[in-house]
Symmetry: C2
Subunit: 190 residues, 2 copies
DNA sequence: GTACCTGTGTGACCTACATCACATTTGAAA
DNA sequence: TTTCAAATGTGATGTAGGTCACACAGGTAC
Protein backbone atom coordinates (compact mmCIF):
# COMPACT_ATOMS: atom_id res chain seq x y z
CA UNK A 1 0.00 0.00 0.00
CA UNK A 2 1.09 3.51 -0.73
CA UNK A 3 2.38 5.70 2.06
CA UNK A 4 -0.41 8.22 1.68
CA UNK A 5 -3.03 5.51 1.87
CA UNK A 6 -1.49 4.07 5.05
CA UNK A 7 -1.52 7.45 6.74
CA UNK A 8 -5.03 8.13 5.51
CA UNK A 9 -6.45 4.94 6.94
CA UNK A 10 -4.58 5.49 10.18
CA UNK A 11 -6.00 8.98 10.68
CA UNK A 12 -9.46 8.08 9.37
CA UNK A 13 -10.04 5.78 12.31
CA UNK A 14 -10.14 8.87 14.54
CA UNK A 15 -10.74 12.02 12.51
CA UNK A 16 -12.53 12.48 9.22
CA UNK A 17 -10.58 14.54 6.72
CA UNK A 18 -11.65 15.33 3.17
CA UNK A 19 -9.37 14.07 0.40
CA UNK A 20 -8.13 17.61 -0.12
CA UNK A 21 -7.33 18.03 3.53
CA UNK A 22 -5.61 14.67 3.60
CA UNK A 23 -3.47 15.61 0.61
CA UNK A 24 -2.60 18.87 2.27
CA UNK A 25 -1.65 17.11 5.48
CA UNK A 26 0.32 14.46 3.62
CA UNK A 27 2.31 17.12 1.76
CA UNK A 28 3.95 18.04 5.07
CA UNK A 29 5.36 14.56 5.57
CA UNK A 30 8.67 13.51 4.11
CA UNK A 31 9.22 9.81 3.25
CA UNK A 32 12.54 8.39 4.38
CA UNK A 33 14.19 4.98 4.07
CA UNK A 34 16.67 3.53 6.53
CA UNK A 35 18.82 0.43 6.68
CA UNK A 36 18.96 -1.94 9.61
CA UNK A 37 21.18 -0.46 12.30
CA UNK A 38 20.95 3.12 11.06
CA UNK A 39 20.42 5.84 13.62
CA UNK A 40 17.52 8.27 13.24
CA UNK A 41 17.84 10.33 16.41
CA UNK A 42 21.08 10.58 18.38
CA UNK A 43 21.25 11.76 21.99
CA UNK A 44 22.79 15.21 22.18
CA UNK A 45 21.43 16.41 18.83
CA UNK A 46 18.51 18.75 18.43
CA UNK A 47 15.26 16.98 17.54
CA UNK A 48 13.18 18.48 14.79
CA UNK A 49 10.81 15.71 13.69
CA UNK A 50 8.60 12.89 14.74
CA UNK A 51 8.29 9.71 12.71
CA UNK A 52 5.39 7.57 11.53
CA UNK A 53 6.47 4.02 10.73
CA UNK A 54 5.34 2.57 7.39
CA UNK A 55 7.40 -0.63 7.45
CA UNK A 56 10.08 -2.25 9.57
CA UNK A 57 10.76 -1.84 13.26
CA UNK A 58 12.46 0.95 15.20
CA UNK A 59 13.46 1.26 18.80
CA UNK A 60 13.68 4.34 21.00
CA UNK A 61 16.11 3.93 23.85
CA UNK A 62 18.16 5.59 26.54
CA UNK A 63 21.82 4.87 27.28
CA UNK A 64 22.91 5.56 30.85
CA UNK A 65 26.33 6.53 32.19
CA UNK A 66 27.33 2.86 32.47
CA UNK A 67 26.44 2.42 28.78
CA UNK A 68 23.47 0.27 29.73
CA UNK A 69 20.57 0.48 27.30
CA UNK A 70 16.90 0.85 28.25
CA UNK A 71 14.27 0.59 25.55
CA UNK A 72 11.32 2.94 25.85
CA UNK A 73 9.38 1.70 22.87
CA UNK A 74 9.49 -0.56 19.88
CA UNK A 75 7.89 1.19 16.90
CA UNK A 76 6.09 -1.05 14.42
CA UNK A 77 4.09 0.03 11.33
CA UNK A 78 1.52 2.79 12.09
CA UNK A 79 3.30 3.66 15.34
CA UNK A 80 4.75 7.09 16.00
CA UNK A 81 8.11 7.70 17.59
CA UNK A 82 10.58 10.43 18.47
CA UNK A 83 12.17 11.95 21.54
CA UNK A 84 8.93 13.73 22.40
CA UNK A 85 10.38 15.48 25.41
CA UNK A 86 13.11 17.07 23.32
CA UNK A 87 10.74 17.69 20.43
CA UNK A 88 8.08 19.54 22.45
CA UNK A 89 10.52 21.46 24.62
CA UNK A 90 13.10 22.29 21.97
CA UNK A 91 15.90 20.72 23.94
CA UNK A 92 18.62 18.30 22.94
CA UNK A 93 17.74 14.62 22.60
CA UNK A 94 18.36 12.36 25.58
CA UNK A 95 16.73 9.48 23.74
CA UNK A 96 18.06 7.66 20.67
CA UNK A 97 16.01 6.15 17.88
CA UNK A 98 17.41 3.60 15.46
CA UNK A 99 16.40 0.79 13.16
CA UNK A 100 16.09 -2.82 14.27
CA UNK A 101 15.25 -3.77 10.66
CA UNK A 102 15.27 -1.91 7.36
CA UNK A 103 12.51 0.66 7.68
CA UNK A 104 10.41 3.20 5.82
CA UNK A 105 8.97 6.13 7.72
CA UNK A 106 7.16 9.39 7.19
CA UNK A 107 8.63 12.30 9.06
CA UNK A 108 6.99 15.57 10.05
CA UNK A 109 8.62 18.52 11.74
CA UNK A 110 7.41 19.87 15.05
CA UNK A 111 6.53 23.22 13.47
CA UNK A 112 4.59 21.61 10.62
CA UNK A 113 2.61 19.49 13.07
CA UNK A 114 1.77 22.55 15.11
CA UNK A 115 0.86 24.45 11.95
CA UNK A 116 -1.47 21.66 10.80
CA UNK A 117 -3.00 21.35 14.26
CA UNK A 118 -3.68 25.03 14.19
CA UNK A 119 -5.12 25.11 10.68
CA UNK A 120 -7.23 21.95 10.89
CA UNK A 121 -9.20 21.30 14.03
CA UNK A 122 -9.54 17.63 13.01
CA UNK A 123 -5.81 17.17 12.89
CA UNK A 124 -5.48 18.57 16.38
CA UNK A 125 -8.18 16.14 17.43
CA UNK A 126 -6.24 13.27 15.93
CA UNK A 127 -3.03 14.19 17.73
CA UNK A 128 -4.83 14.64 21.01
CA UNK A 129 -6.25 11.15 20.63
CA UNK A 130 -2.86 9.74 19.71
CA UNK A 131 -1.16 11.13 22.78
CA UNK A 132 -4.03 9.97 24.98
CA UNK A 133 -3.35 6.44 23.82
CA UNK A 134 0.35 6.82 24.50
CA UNK A 135 -0.25 8.27 27.94
CA UNK A 136 -2.57 5.47 28.98
CA UNK A 137 -0.15 2.86 27.63
CA UNK A 138 2.75 4.43 29.51
CA UNK A 139 0.78 4.38 32.76
CA UNK A 140 -0.14 0.75 32.25
CA UNK A 141 3.46 -0.16 31.63
CA UNK A 142 4.54 1.70 34.74
CA UNK A 143 2.01 -0.22 36.82
CA UNK A 144 3.06 -3.51 35.32
CA UNK A 145 6.64 -2.64 36.15
CA UNK A 146 5.83 -2.07 39.79
CA UNK A 147 3.43 -4.96 40.15
CA UNK A 148 4.66 -7.86 38.00
CA UNK A 149 7.83 -9.92 37.80
CA UNK A 150 9.94 -10.32 34.67
CA UNK A 151 8.30 -13.52 33.47
CA UNK A 152 4.84 -12.01 33.64
CA UNK A 153 5.95 -8.84 31.86
CA UNK A 154 7.68 -10.85 29.15
CA UNK A 155 4.60 -12.92 28.45
CA UNK A 156 2.38 -9.85 28.57
CA UNK A 157 4.61 -8.20 25.97
CA UNK A 158 4.54 -11.19 23.65
CA UNK A 159 0.78 -11.57 24.00
CA UNK A 160 0.33 -7.92 23.05
CA UNK A 161 2.88 -7.91 20.22
CA UNK A 162 3.57 -11.49 19.08
CA UNK A 163 5.39 -10.25 16.01
CA UNK A 164 8.22 -8.93 18.20
CA UNK A 165 9.27 -12.48 19.04
CA UNK A 166 10.57 -13.11 15.54
CA UNK A 167 11.92 -9.67 14.75
CA UNK A 168 13.59 -8.49 17.93
CA UNK A 169 16.61 -10.21 19.52
CA UNK A 170 16.24 -11.22 23.14
CA UNK A 171 18.84 -8.82 24.45
CA UNK A 172 16.64 -5.97 23.21
CA UNK A 173 13.54 -7.51 24.71
CA UNK A 174 15.47 -7.65 27.99
CA UNK A 175 16.37 -3.97 27.63
CA UNK A 176 12.66 -3.22 27.18
CA UNK A 177 11.70 -5.25 30.22
CA UNK A 178 14.43 -3.60 32.27
CA UNK A 179 16.34 -6.80 33.13
CA UNK A 180 19.63 -8.36 32.11
CA UNK A 181 19.69 -10.63 29.07
CA UNK A 182 20.92 -13.45 31.33
CA UNK A 183 17.85 -13.25 33.52
CA UNK A 184 15.56 -13.29 30.51
CA UNK A 185 17.39 -16.30 29.09
CA UNK A 186 17.10 -18.18 32.38
CA UNK A 187 13.32 -17.74 32.48
CA UNK A 188 12.85 -20.65 30.13
CA UNK A 189 16.25 -22.35 29.86
CA UNK A 190 18.29 -22.67 33.01
CA UNK B 1 -8.63 32.81 44.55
CA UNK B 2 -11.90 31.82 43.01
CA UNK B 3 -12.21 28.49 41.21
CA UNK B 4 -12.97 30.10 37.87
CA UNK B 5 -9.93 32.32 38.13
CA UNK B 6 -7.67 29.37 38.93
CA UNK B 7 -8.91 27.45 35.92
CA UNK B 8 -8.63 30.54 33.74
CA UNK B 9 -5.03 31.17 34.63
CA UNK B 10 -4.21 27.50 34.18
CA UNK B 11 -5.67 27.36 30.68
CA UNK B 12 -4.43 30.79 29.68
CA UNK B 13 -0.83 29.62 29.89
CA UNK B 14 -1.50 27.45 26.84
CA UNK B 15 -4.61 28.59 25.00
CA UNK B 16 -6.19 32.03 24.79
CA UNK B 17 -9.91 32.03 25.41
CA UNK B 18 -12.15 35.09 25.50
CA UNK B 19 -13.92 35.79 28.78
CA UNK B 20 -17.16 34.55 27.23
CA UNK B 21 -15.55 31.32 26.08
CA UNK B 22 -13.97 30.85 29.48
CA UNK B 23 -17.34 31.34 31.19
CA UNK B 24 -18.88 28.85 28.82
CA UNK B 25 -16.14 26.32 29.48
CA UNK B 26 -16.32 26.89 33.21
CA UNK B 27 -20.08 26.29 33.21
CA UNK B 28 -19.37 22.64 32.38
CA UNK B 29 -17.30 22.11 35.51
CA UNK B 30 -18.89 21.15 38.78
CA UNK B 31 -17.14 22.18 42.03
CA UNK B 32 -16.89 19.44 44.65
CA UNK B 33 -15.47 19.29 48.17
CA UNK B 34 -14.04 16.20 49.82
CA UNK B 35 -12.76 15.32 53.25
CA UNK B 36 -9.42 13.68 53.95
CA UNK B 37 -9.70 9.95 53.28
CA UNK B 38 -12.80 10.20 51.07
CA UNK B 39 -12.86 8.16 47.91
CA UNK B 40 -13.50 9.87 44.56
CA UNK B 41 -13.10 6.95 42.15
CA UNK B 42 -13.41 3.32 43.24
CA UNK B 43 -12.09 0.39 41.20
CA UNK B 44 -14.95 -1.51 39.62
CA UNK B 45 -17.22 1.50 39.17
CA UNK B 46 -17.81 3.24 35.88
CA UNK B 47 -15.80 6.44 35.48
CA UNK B 48 -17.61 9.47 34.16
CA UNK B 49 -15.43 12.43 35.06
CA UNK B 50 -11.96 13.79 35.33
CA UNK B 51 -10.92 16.14 38.12
CA UNK B 52 -8.98 19.39 38.29
CA UNK B 53 -7.52 19.99 41.75
CA UNK B 54 -8.11 23.42 43.30
CA UNK B 55 -6.77 22.69 46.77
CA UNK B 56 -5.52 19.74 48.77
CA UNK B 57 -3.83 16.59 47.57
CA UNK B 58 -5.25 13.47 45.93
CA UNK B 59 -3.68 10.17 45.00
CA UNK B 60 -4.52 7.82 42.16
CA UNK B 61 -3.53 4.25 42.90
CA UNK B 62 -3.88 0.61 42.01
CA UNK B 63 -4.46 -2.23 44.48
CA UNK B 64 -3.21 -5.64 43.35
CA UNK B 65 -4.49 -9.09 44.28
CA UNK B 66 -2.25 -9.16 47.38
CA UNK B 67 -3.82 -5.84 48.45
CA UNK B 68 -0.55 -4.06 47.86
CA UNK B 69 -0.96 -0.44 46.79
CA UNK B 70 0.91 1.27 43.96
CA UNK B 71 0.54 5.00 43.52
CA UNK B 72 0.38 6.29 39.98
CA UNK B 73 0.19 9.96 40.75
CA UNK B 74 -0.15 12.50 43.49
CA UNK B 75 -2.45 15.30 42.37
CA UNK B 76 -1.73 18.75 43.76
CA UNK B 77 -3.48 22.03 42.90
CA UNK B 78 -3.77 22.64 39.11
CA UNK B 79 -3.15 18.95 38.39
CA UNK B 80 -5.67 16.77 36.63
CA UNK B 81 -6.52 13.25 37.65
CA UNK B 82 -8.86 10.36 36.91
CA UNK B 83 -8.69 6.79 35.69
CA UNK B 84 -8.00 7.97 32.17
CA UNK B 85 -7.95 4.49 30.72
CA UNK B 86 -11.45 3.78 32.00
CA UNK B 87 -12.64 7.28 31.17
CA UNK B 88 -11.54 7.24 27.52
CA UNK B 89 -12.54 3.64 26.87
CA UNK B 90 -15.80 3.60 28.82
CA UNK B 91 -14.71 0.65 30.91
CA UNK B 92 -14.83 0.08 34.64
CA UNK B 93 -12.18 1.71 36.81
CA UNK B 94 -9.10 -0.32 37.70
CA UNK B 95 -7.60 2.70 39.42
CA UNK B 96 -8.81 4.38 42.60
CA UNK B 97 -8.62 8.05 43.44
CA UNK B 98 -8.94 9.37 46.97
CA UNK B 99 -8.04 12.30 49.18
CA UNK B 100 -4.80 12.51 51.14
CA UNK B 101 -6.00 15.82 52.60
CA UNK B 102 -9.28 17.74 52.48
CA UNK B 103 -9.65 18.81 48.89
CA UNK B 104 -11.61 20.99 46.51
CA UNK B 105 -11.83 19.98 42.87
CA UNK B 106 -13.59 20.87 39.65
CA UNK B 107 -15.03 17.93 37.82
CA UNK B 108 -15.95 17.62 34.17
CA UNK B 109 -17.59 14.69 32.46
CA UNK B 110 -15.98 12.86 29.57
CA UNK B 111 -18.82 13.84 27.25
CA UNK B 112 -18.65 17.50 28.23
CA UNK B 113 -14.91 17.57 27.65
CA UNK B 114 -15.38 16.04 24.22
CA UNK B 115 -18.19 18.47 23.47
CA UNK B 116 -16.04 21.45 24.45
CA UNK B 117 -13.07 20.11 22.49
CA UNK B 118 -15.32 19.81 19.49
CA UNK B 119 -16.90 23.25 19.84
CA UNK B 120 -13.77 25.20 20.70
CA UNK B 121 -10.58 24.46 18.84
CA UNK B 122 -8.60 26.20 21.57
CA UNK B 123 -9.92 23.87 24.22
CA UNK B 124 -8.89 20.87 22.17
CA UNK B 125 -5.46 22.47 21.85
CA UNK B 126 -5.27 22.86 25.60
CA UNK B 127 -6.15 19.24 26.27
CA UNK B 128 -3.69 18.01 23.66
CA UNK B 129 -0.98 20.00 25.38
CA UNK B 130 -2.01 18.70 28.78
CA UNK B 131 -1.79 15.07 27.73
CA UNK B 132 1.53 15.69 25.99
CA UNK B 133 2.91 16.83 29.32
CA UNK B 134 1.54 13.79 31.06
CA UNK B 135 2.90 11.44 28.44
CA UNK B 136 6.40 12.88 28.61
CA UNK B 137 6.32 12.77 32.42
CA UNK B 138 5.19 9.13 32.39
CA UNK B 139 8.03 8.18 30.04
CA UNK B 140 10.54 9.96 32.23
CA UNK B 141 9.28 8.16 35.29
CA UNK B 142 9.47 4.83 33.50
CA UNK B 143 13.08 5.48 32.56
CA UNK B 144 13.96 6.57 36.06
CA UNK B 145 12.38 3.37 37.32
CA UNK B 146 14.56 1.22 35.11
CA UNK B 147 17.72 3.22 35.56
CA UNK B 148 17.84 4.55 39.12
CA UNK B 149 17.78 3.01 42.57
CA UNK B 150 15.28 3.88 45.26
CA UNK B 151 17.38 6.54 46.95
CA UNK B 152 17.91 8.42 43.72
CA UNK B 153 14.23 8.24 42.80
CA UNK B 154 13.21 9.43 46.26
CA UNK B 155 15.47 12.44 46.11
CA UNK B 156 14.40 13.17 42.56
CA UNK B 157 10.75 13.15 43.67
CA UNK B 158 11.40 15.49 46.60
CA UNK B 159 13.43 17.85 44.47
CA UNK B 160 10.59 18.03 41.95
CA UNK B 161 7.78 18.29 44.52
CA UNK B 162 9.22 19.42 47.88
CA UNK B 163 5.72 20.09 49.23
CA UNK B 164 5.01 16.34 49.22
CA UNK B 165 7.48 15.84 52.05
CA UNK B 166 5.21 17.55 54.57
CA UNK B 167 1.85 16.46 53.24
CA UNK B 168 2.29 12.82 52.28
CA UNK B 169 3.18 10.03 54.76
CA UNK B 170 6.21 7.94 53.94
CA UNK B 171 4.29 4.74 53.33
CA UNK B 172 2.53 6.49 50.44
CA UNK B 173 5.80 7.85 49.10
CA UNK B 174 7.07 4.27 49.18
CA UNK B 175 4.00 3.12 47.26
CA UNK B 176 4.77 5.76 44.66
CA UNK B 177 8.40 4.72 44.39
CA UNK B 178 7.40 1.07 44.16
CA UNK B 179 9.29 -0.12 47.25
CA UNK B 180 8.36 -1.25 50.74
CA UNK B 181 8.01 1.37 53.45
CA UNK B 182 10.75 -0.45 55.38
CA UNK B 183 13.25 0.00 52.59
CA UNK B 184 12.39 3.68 52.29
CA UNK B 185 12.80 4.13 56.04
CA UNK B 186 16.19 2.40 56.00
CA UNK B 187 17.55 4.77 53.36
CA UNK B 188 18.28 7.38 55.96
CA UNK B 189 17.85 5.70 59.33
CA UNK B 190 19.12 2.13 59.67
C1' DG C 1 37.46 -21.72 3.86
C1' DT C 2 38.75 -18.63 7.78
C1' DA C 3 37.87 -15.04 10.73
C1' DC C 4 34.76 -12.50 13.11
C1' DC C 5 30.79 -10.68 15.27
C1' DT C 6 26.19 -10.99 17.20
C1' DG C 7 23.15 -13.49 19.81
C1' DT C 8 22.40 -16.80 23.26
C1' DG C 9 23.02 -20.30 27.21
C1' DT C 10 24.78 -21.21 31.85
C1' DG C 11 27.56 -21.58 36.26
C1' DA C 12 29.16 -19.00 40.50
C1' DC C 13 28.59 -15.48 43.28
C1' DC C 14 26.76 -10.80 44.91
C1' DT C 15 23.34 -7.26 46.22
C1' DA C 16 19.23 -4.60 46.64
C1' DC C 17 15.13 -5.03 48.22
C1' DA C 18 11.07 -7.83 50.21
C1' DT C 19 8.91 -9.91 54.10
C1' DC C 20 7.83 -10.77 58.82
C1' DA C 21 7.99 -9.50 63.43
C1' DC C 22 8.03 -6.33 66.90
C1' DA C 23 9.03 -1.77 69.18
C1' DT C 24 8.32 3.12 69.46
C1' DT C 25 6.45 7.63 68.32
C1' DT C 26 2.80 10.72 67.31
C1' DG C 27 -1.31 12.85 66.56
C1' DA C 28 -6.21 12.81 66.62
C1' DA C 29 -10.45 11.32 68.84
C1' DA C 30 -13.12 10.61 72.92
C1' DT D 1 -6.17 13.34 79.93
C1' DT D 2 -6.42 8.97 78.26
C1' DT D 3 -6.76 5.99 74.35
C1' DC D 4 -6.15 4.22 70.05
C1' DA D 5 -4.72 4.02 65.35
C1' DA D 6 -1.60 5.53 62.02
C1' DA D 7 3.04 6.23 60.99
C1' DT D 8 7.66 5.04 61.55
C1' DG D 9 12.12 2.53 62.95
C1' DT D 10 14.80 -1.71 62.99
C1' DG D 11 16.52 -6.63 63.33
C1' DA D 12 16.63 -11.24 61.04
C1' DT D 13 16.20 -13.68 57.09
C1' DG D 14 14.68 -14.89 52.24
C1' DT D 15 14.90 -14.18 47.15
C1' DA D 16 14.75 -12.14 42.49
C1' DG D 17 17.61 -10.49 39.67
C1' DG D 18 22.46 -8.44 38.65
C1' DT D 19 27.29 -9.17 37.35
C1' DC D 20 31.16 -11.57 35.60
C1' DA D 21 33.07 -15.20 33.17
C1' DC D 22 33.14 -18.37 29.65
C1' DA D 23 31.11 -21.47 25.99
C1' DC D 24 29.09 -22.12 21.70
C1' DA D 25 26.10 -21.54 17.54
C1' DG D 26 24.96 -19.23 13.19
C1' DG D 27 25.57 -15.70 9.89
C1' DT D 28 28.45 -12.85 6.93
C1' DA D 29 32.54 -10.41 5.20
C1' DC D 30 36.87 -11.28 3.23
Amino acid sequence: MEAKEVLKQHIAKIASLTDDELSYVFSHFKPLSFKKGQSIITAGDMVDCEYFVLSGCLKSFFINDDLKMFILQFAMPTWWTSDFNALYNHTKATINVDCITDAEVLCISNSDREKLCNELHNVEHFFRWRTNKGYVAAQKRLLSFMNNNVKYRYEELLKLYPELYNIVPKNLIAAYLGVSRETLSRLYHA
